[in-house]
Subunit: 338 residues, 2 copies
């Protein structure tokens, strides 16, 4: 079997750490492994497959002989260093938003548009976590009928803002329990026992950047420039799984039956229906956390519209929402590159 | 000024406690005050306006000479004891769901359908908290155009399940922070750093009871048997303010401008627009908690439908969602009874 020289950029962050775990557990065929991070984290030791690796400082020269570079160190680092990795001959799988809407960069969820992987020119972008989790539930339904419109409200975990945000949720919650003052540092508002609209810039339409990503990335992934989504993105005091309440409206007269929807999900990889009405057991962050699959439940006909269905979905933000999807892209690419 | 003999049933619960605070701060004209609760809480002492009151056991004979009885002790106690209060000549304002859909019982949000108060036959019902908070934002928009359909997803605080549920959230969160096992007692699933579909019974349509309340109570309050709502109700680890992501679709061609919507809210009592796009400041539970007004923000045109608008709303579940609305019903009734 062919083996590969792999680099992980941002290897000490929430997503980078998960990348390393997945490279181990999925037995990725690694020849050499290079761990890269900003100067702040360089020098740290990381165990991998029983060996200890030193984290090196990310520079323009970090990518010699690298075949695959996983980037999860934020958009500005991807913008600066991904071109160097490409110039050195590496395939970059970028978890940041830097290249997602670049026309020459494929944006891929392997279960949905794996064919786009082959069109890369050095970089393949990993979609936004909320987009991935929504589309794992929504995209398969297109087999059953044309979708007119999706209305989605998210319940997003702290992990989407990185390891520091998760630490802030934990430390601030302890402060709240001890009646100590809450001092937000990563988030703009207290996250302990609170929730707030996703703190990205609001454009003139009133949508924030996270919501725009869900709208625009969906169109690119589905190759449908007219696909209609309205998203409301909300941060909640949950650690690492995103939830989404999704209303899918089909074109006039085109609503499939719930049975058809269940059948489609049963044959779709990466999703599991958790929908026990009697036991009141539906998707929850504590069950989605650490799970590869996106959980789908609360499947029902929309009482307000004869063409729509409602559902509630949970997925691990760090796994399918980030590292796992990136690794799956690499696995698909490897198969075609061999 | 006329004064009244008041009874508070369930006076030691989350809503009952807030009722007593409001009776104080709003200087309700009380002649005598009787605090009632189940045997478990009877005998407790409660301070009110500088005097100490003993909580008495609720019985069929508790309502002699009572003019107004606020019930917030659960549906079964309302079913059993409200008729005795009515027989004794009291007006019952019932916070439970027991009488809400009873045709002879008005279901009232004073800002929306105060005229229904006069139609009572002894009992006036306080609507479900999620219904009240949604309608405070949605009902005023009917002045601007016919509403075709509302799609709402809730982020509901623990307080909706009572004081014990709030205590469970706090204690269980401490357990989670100390890696102790989480043992759900009030809720069916862990609520610390988790969220789940509202744990009421699911009917054959797939909606749970909380969602059905939002659908059916809305029709009764708005006197519109065809009003269309699809609701997804979710419990989140927040203490006492409910949030709701609301999509309002108007009839074809009937969408008002955001300016018109802001104007309507500016002249609507009980709501405040919190919608600062530059500062990314929108309604949040920590700011809605302890506040009488329902906060409305994230106002924007729906990118997926030319007839719809999106918004995000927060309201204190115990105040406007329960005790405050009940007290406002009493205040309206008093004015007409004098």
């Amino acid at each position: 079997m062919r083996t590969w020289n792999v680099a992980v950029v941002g290897s000490t962050g929430a997503v980078g750490t998960e990348f390393l775990k997945l490279l181990e557990t999925r037995e990725f065929p690694i020849k050499t492994l290079r761990l890269l991070a900003s100067e702040r984290s360089a020098g740290k030791s990381v165990d991998f497959h029983g060996r200890t690796y030193k984290v090196e400082t990310l520079t323009a020269n970090s990518f010699e002989d690298v075949d695959i570079a996983f980037f999860s160190a934020g958009g500005s680092r991807s913008k600066e260093f991904a071109p160097h990795a490409v110039a050195a001959g590496a395939l970059v799988i970028d978890n940041s938003s830097a290249y997602r809407m670049d026309p020459s960069t494929p944006l891929v969820i392997p279960e949905i548009n794996p064919e786009d992987i082959a069109r890369h020119s050095g970089i393949i972008a990993n979609p936004n976590c909320s987009t991935i989790i929504m589309l794992m539930a929504v995209a398969p339904l297109r087999k059953l009928g044309a979708i007119k419109r999706v209305v989605v409200s998210t319940y997003q975990a702290a992990s989407g803002a990185g390891a520091q945000a998760m630490n802030e949720l934990i430390a601030q919650t302890a402060d709240a329990l001890h009646d100590r003052p809450l001092v937000p540092q990563v988030f703009p508002y207290p996250i302990a026992f609170n929730l707030f609209s996703h703190n990205t810039r609001i454009d003139e339409s009133g949508y924030n950047e996270e919501e725009r990503k869900m709208i625009l990335e969906t169109r690119k992934i589905l190759h449908d420039t007219h696909f209609r989504v309205s998203a409301t993105c909300v941060r909640v005091p949950v650690l690492r799984a995103h939830s989404e309440s999704i209303n899918v409206e089909f074109s006039e007269g085109g609503r499939p039956t719930l049975e058809q929807i269940r059948e489609v999900y049963a044959e779709t990889p990466g999703v599991v229906v958790v929908d026990d009405r009697v036991a009141n057991h539906f998707p929850m962050p504590i069950e989605a956390s650490g799970t590869d699959d996106v959980l789908i439940g609360r499947l029902r006909y929309d009482d307000s519209c004869e063409n729509a269905v409602d559902m509630f979905v949970c997925g691990d933000q760090i796994l399918k929402g980030a590292a796992l999807n990136g690794l799956q892209i690499a696995e698909f690419w490897m198969r075609s590159a061999q």
